[in-house]
């Protein structure tokens, strides 16, 4: 065989040397797919409102909306399409969160990580999903047949319903409920029902252990989470997600996180509680791999397992999104106040191109902030060990709940203070941002020193 | 204190129940009468100056020629850094001895292992059941006259020599293939068979 032919047939994979086609293809799909979904959400969410449908019927179909026989059908259809897009968005986002988490974890653990399916192993989650679909669906003979089959759907419902009220952008929310955040808390509690059912119906002692632990954990941590959520609600004066975001500003010193010392505490309480609600380390007792193998998931295989996994990772996104909405200013774009949005929207009919562009920017800001918080959650998972059940309960009831209450009362007083001394708000904002920046600088400096002391160096090119 | 010193103290208290110290080939040991073993052990553990608080090893050796099973105790003292080896001889037909678990808790698992692998009965042991082998195993493997039962619950414990086995499997496979595709009836050979040597690989590769 000639040398050229031999080289052509040589399929030895070279680690780190992806053919350009693969890299470009991965980038294309990796950026394109979420962008397409974002775009779909972008377009559909303002469009699938009754007045828009009426305008569509009136202008495009030339019929009178009041008497149009298929109006309800069109309403239903538009909602169905939006729901479909949102669930897909949830699933895709969950898959990409898996990729990000595995990537970060592999770097933290000094491993190469995923690197086969797509550049940087980007499509590994697709391969995993396909693999899970093709597995044998085992249902233990002793398990409760109906509940065993039903529990993944409780969990999936609880997860999917949250996307209805997540504010992706200035007008990009499927339903701007006036009880937005309250609805979200209520709906995420469905997940605990699913977990309990899964643990119970598996009819396996280890699964039962996992289910009980998880129920205790999630229900307990609803309390500090709920109290911590009240603080931005108090500061904004409304439960609606968009209102809470609009009450903040685009710059860090205008975020709720920094404009009120008590809300810093509230953010920490909220963050810890959300980790516990999402069964994330250090609170991953229900699925403590080294103790219970997979806890409540032990008996699940194939697609049902995939559903649980999808929800667990998608929940990271939801948690991060809620944290961003409440404390980090949501989609607020710097230099773009509400006047700019109103001006670009114009009056009547469809808004102009500038408005759409600004929506995209606000969506990008939201996504970036959510990714930042998501990275924080992933980071915490791969650093900290797991706490024990009784320590978890003690932490919740003896530490988080009192802290949350104190923060709540402090916020009440703060709101009163703000009425008297309105300048306290920006002053605190700047002060806390400054303090955070100093702490971050110390942290980075100390990290660099630690790395140098270990004889290593930071290598950011190692992707 | 040396082993000789410990032995002298033992002899002083127990007299003839403790045998003489054997030659050091390489470890010297002393035979103890089996009825007094627990007291000897307790004495060695608690006596100030001796304080052999660590039961390093307790095991058994099977001597079918002498018709005894020996239980061997290796004792060590952390405080004084000395040690001694004691042996007890048991009748091979019915090996029974009192447990020393009351003196050192370590003996619990050691004696369970001896029971499992040698069949020695320890009176007074709180939980004498097999340790390494399944509960319904028959026989005591470390005895010299142990015969393997050939299997356990249908899982065979004998395997023929792999070379022989694989050759036999090849024969079986060939016979089955021959049965499925009966060889073609012999036909007259062609007139001028081409040079049919072993297949020549194509020149390309």
């Amino acid at each position: 065989m000639t040398a050229a032919a031999a080289k052509k047939h040589d399929r030895t994979p070279r680690i780190g040397a992806n053919p350009r086609g693969v890299v470009l293809g991965t980038l294309a799909i990796g950026l394109g797919l979420p962008s397409a979904l974002f775009a779909a959400v972008l377009v559909l969410s303002p469009v699938t409102k009754p007045f828009m449908i009426d305008a569509f019927i009136r202008n495009v179909l030339g019929q009178d909306p009041a008497t149009f026989g298929y109006r309800n059908l069109l309403y239903g259809l538009s909602v169905a399409i939006l729901a479909f897009v949102l669930i897909n968005f949830g699933a895709i986002v969950s898959g990409m969160t898996v990729w990000w988490e595995m990537r970060v974890s592999s770097r933290m653990q000094s491993r190469v990580g995923y690197n086969r399916v797509g550049a940087g192993g980007f499509f590994q989650w697709v391969a995993d999903a396909v693999k899970l679909l093709l597995k044998e669906d085992l249902i233990p003979a002793e398990a409760d047949q109906l509940l065993f089959r039903a529990s993944p759907y409780f969990v999936l419902t609880g997860f999917a319903l949250t996307f209805v009220a997540l504010p992706f952008g200035e007008s990009l929310i499927a339903a701007d409920l006036n009880v937005g955040i309250f609805y979200l808390i209520a709906v995420t509690a469905l997940v605990v029902v699913g977990i309990l059912l899964a643990g119970w119906s598996s009819n396996s002692k280890w699964a039962l252990f996992g289910g009980m632990r998880s129920a205790a954990q999630v229900i307990s941590y609803e309390i500090p989470a709920g109290i911590a959520i009240m603080i931005p609600v108090l500061m904004a004066g409304s439960l609606s997600m968009q209102d809470i975001i609009r009450a903040q500003g685009p710059w860090p010193w205008q975020w709720f996180l920094f404009t009120n010392p008590a809300s810093l505490v509230a953010f920490l309480v909220f963050f810890i509680s959300q980790l516990a609600e999402g069964n994330r380390t250090p609170f991953d007792l229900p699925e403590a791999e080294s103790e219970l193998v997979a806890g409540y998931l032990s008996e699940y295989s194939s697609f049902r397992f995939a559903l649980f996994f999808l929800v667990e990772f998608g929940n990271l996104w939801v948690m991060a999104a809620i944290a961003v909405t409440l404390f980090l200013g949501g989609w607020q774009v710097p230099f773009a106040g509400p006047e700019l949005f109103a001006e670009l929207k114009g009056t009547g009919g469809m808004p102009g191109l500038g408005w759409w562009a600004l929506q995209i920017v606000s969506m990008g800001v939201f996504a970036l902030k959510t990714l930042f918080v998501l990275n924080l959650i992933v980071w915490v998972r791969w650093t900290l060990p797991r706490i024990r059940v009784d320590q978890m309960m003690v932490l919740c009831w003896k530490y988080l709940v009192p802290f949350a209450f104190v923060a709540f009362v402090a916020t009440l007083l703060w709101q009163i203070l703000l009425v008297q001394v309105p300048v306290a708000r920006p002053v605190t904002g700047f002060a806390l941002v400054g303090a955070t920046a100093v702490v971050a600088a110390f942290f980075i400096r100390q990290t660099r020193r630690n790395i140098a002391a270990a004889g290593d160096r930071v290598d950011l090119t190692n992707w | 204190m040396t082993t000789d010193g410990i032995h002298e103290r033992l002899k002083a208290v127990f007299g003839d129940d403790v045998g003489p110290l054997s030659e050091a080939k390489m470890d010297a040991f002393a035979l103890v009468k089996k009825e007094r073993i627990v007291e000897v052990c307790r004495f060695l553990k608690t006596e100030p100056g001796l304080e052999l608080e660590f039961l390093e090893d307790e095991t058994a050796v099977d001597w079918p020629k002498r018709n005894v099973i020996e239980i061997v105790y290796h004792l060590l003292s952390y405080r004084h850094r000395h040690g001694i080896v004691l042996k007890v001889e048991l009748d091979r037909a019915a090996p029974v001895i009192t447990t020393v678990e009351t003196v050192w808790k370590t003996a619990n698992w050691f004696e369970r292992e001896i029971y499992d692998l040698f069949g020695v009965d320890f009176t007074g042991h709180p939980d004498l059941r097999r340790l390494l082998l399944p509960d319904d195993w028959v026989g005591h493997p470390l005895r010299k006259d142990y015969q393997d039962a050939g299997g356990w619950h249908g899982i065979s414990s004998f395997r023929e020599n792999p070379l022989v086995e694989l050759r036999r499997l090849d024969e079986v496979r060939r016979a089955e293939a021959a049965k499925l595709n009966p060889p073609p009836p012999p036909s007259p050979p062609p007139a001028a068979p081409p040079a049919a040597g072993p297949a020549v690989p194509p020149a390309k590769a």
């Binding site: 007792l285 080294s290 | 390489m26 095991t59």
Partner: protein, 388 residues
């Protein structure tokens, strides 16, 4: 077939109401195939009874069937996580019977390879312990370091796990060219790594909370139950065979003069003496000491042969001997009875993990399930040592 072990957990009659669980034998956190029958009352254990024997390979019986030199590879399998010590103990026992002594260079190489393997074994131990407690990252960092050690030992003797390196009368191979410098370079890096490792996990608040004051084993109880090695030292007993009953290299005056080190003892670093944290942290400290020992030994490595003159057929005269070494898991002793033939008459391996299992049943009442995991991990039991 009724399992007799169930009687220990009160489950021998049909209408008992305890919740009995099987913890193993396949389980991510039992170190090897070990089964525990666990009787719980909610999260709190009433009793955890170990059920061993899944890895019983009758190595002691095999020892009666192979010649003395031929048994060396089997000793690797007695403890495959720290196989050097298993080799060394057996070689020592037979050398005592033959009344021969290995040459100095062999002794030095025994010490160096032993300490490197001790580091490797402790890395696995503390890494898997951290993983059992839920921190996944430290284990992989430990494994990364262990890879380098495996590579170094592979250069030395050709194998990464079951070394078969020691021989009766010395060691099999001499150190290759440049090996000494490579090991010293690794040790420099390793000392810095230990600091980073400590910062990552040893002083982590959650980790300390999980391990401190959990499953306290007082010193007297540890001796009574026959715990050895880091378990014993973690309970406060200052005993190390290398210093107190020296053998092989540790008994040579030149070695003792060139190699200075200390024995870490548990003093309740973060809680009570004898808790899980002590046993864990002792291993971290021991890794540091091993690095020290290896470095000093490498710098003072004498020239010479690596194997003594040993008869072709090894037939010691009738007698018996006990050869003990301080393995990563504590005292590993081989009791060899020979009757003048080429094969041993009785060959017994007394291992540290065996007696460590014996204590679990009596310490477990009152622990939580998560603490049982911590206890098993802190005792550093490996299944091959228990079952042989």
């Amino acid at each position: 077939m009724e399992k007799l072990i169930l009687r220990r957990v009160g489950m021998d009659h049909p209408d008992s109401e305890e919740m009995i669980l099987n913890f193993g034998p396949q389980h991510p956190s039992t170190h090897g195939v070990i089964n525990f029958i666990v009787e719980t009352d909610g999260e709190v254990l009433k009793k955890a009874v170990p059920d061993v024997g899944y890895l019983h390979r009758s190595i002691e019986k095999i020892g009666e069937g192979v010649a003395y030199p031929g048994f060396m590879p089997y000793t690797d399998r007695v403890d495959y996580v720290a196989a050097m010590f298993a080799n060394e103990g057996y070689a020592l026992a037979i050398e005592r019977l033959l009344k021969i002594d290995a040459p100095p260079r062999a002794h030095w190489l025994r010490a160096i390879s032993g300490e490197l393997v001790r580091i490797a074994s402790h890395l696995v131990s503390v890494g898997t312990m951290a993983m059992d407690i839920g921190a996944f990252t430290p284990m992989l960092h430990g494994i990364r370091e262990r890879e380098t050690i495996n590579d170094l030992i592979e250069e030395l003797c050709g194998a990464r796990l079951t070394y078969n390196y020691h021989r009766i009368g010395g060691v099999a191979f001499d150190a290759p060219n440049g090996w000494r410098d490579r090991v010293l370079k690794f040790l420099d890096h390793f000392d810095a790594f230990l600091v980073e490792f400590d910062r990552l996990i040893s002083f982590n608040e959650i980790y300390i909370r999980r391990l401190a004051n959990v499953a306290v084993i007082p010193g007297a109880l540890a001796i009574d139950y026959g715990l050895v090695g880091p378990n014993l030292r973690g309970s406060g007993v200052d005993w190390d065979l290398r210093r107190d009953l020296p053998y092989g290299p540790w008994a040579l005056p030149e070695f003792r003069e060139k190699v200075k080190w200390s024995v870490p003892v548990g003093t309740g670093f973060m809680g009570t003496p004898g808790d899980c944290y002590d046993r864990y942290y002792i291993r971290c400290l021991e890794m540091k000491e091993s690095s020290r020992i290896a470095r000093q030994a490498l710098e003072s490595l004498p020239e010479g042969e690596v194997m003594a003159k040993v008869p072709r057929k090894i037939k010691p005269e009738a007698g018996e001997a006990l050869g003990r070494v301080e393995s990563a898991r504590g005292e590993l002793a081989y009791y060899v009875v020979c009757d003048g033939t080429e094969k041993a008459y009785r060959l017994r391996a007394r291992t540290g993990s065996f007696t460590a299992m014996g204590i679990i049943e009596d310490i477990s009442p009152g622990l939580m399930v998560a603490d049982l995991v911590a206890l098993i991990a802190s005792l550093d039991v490996v299944a091959p040592e228990i079952d042989r």
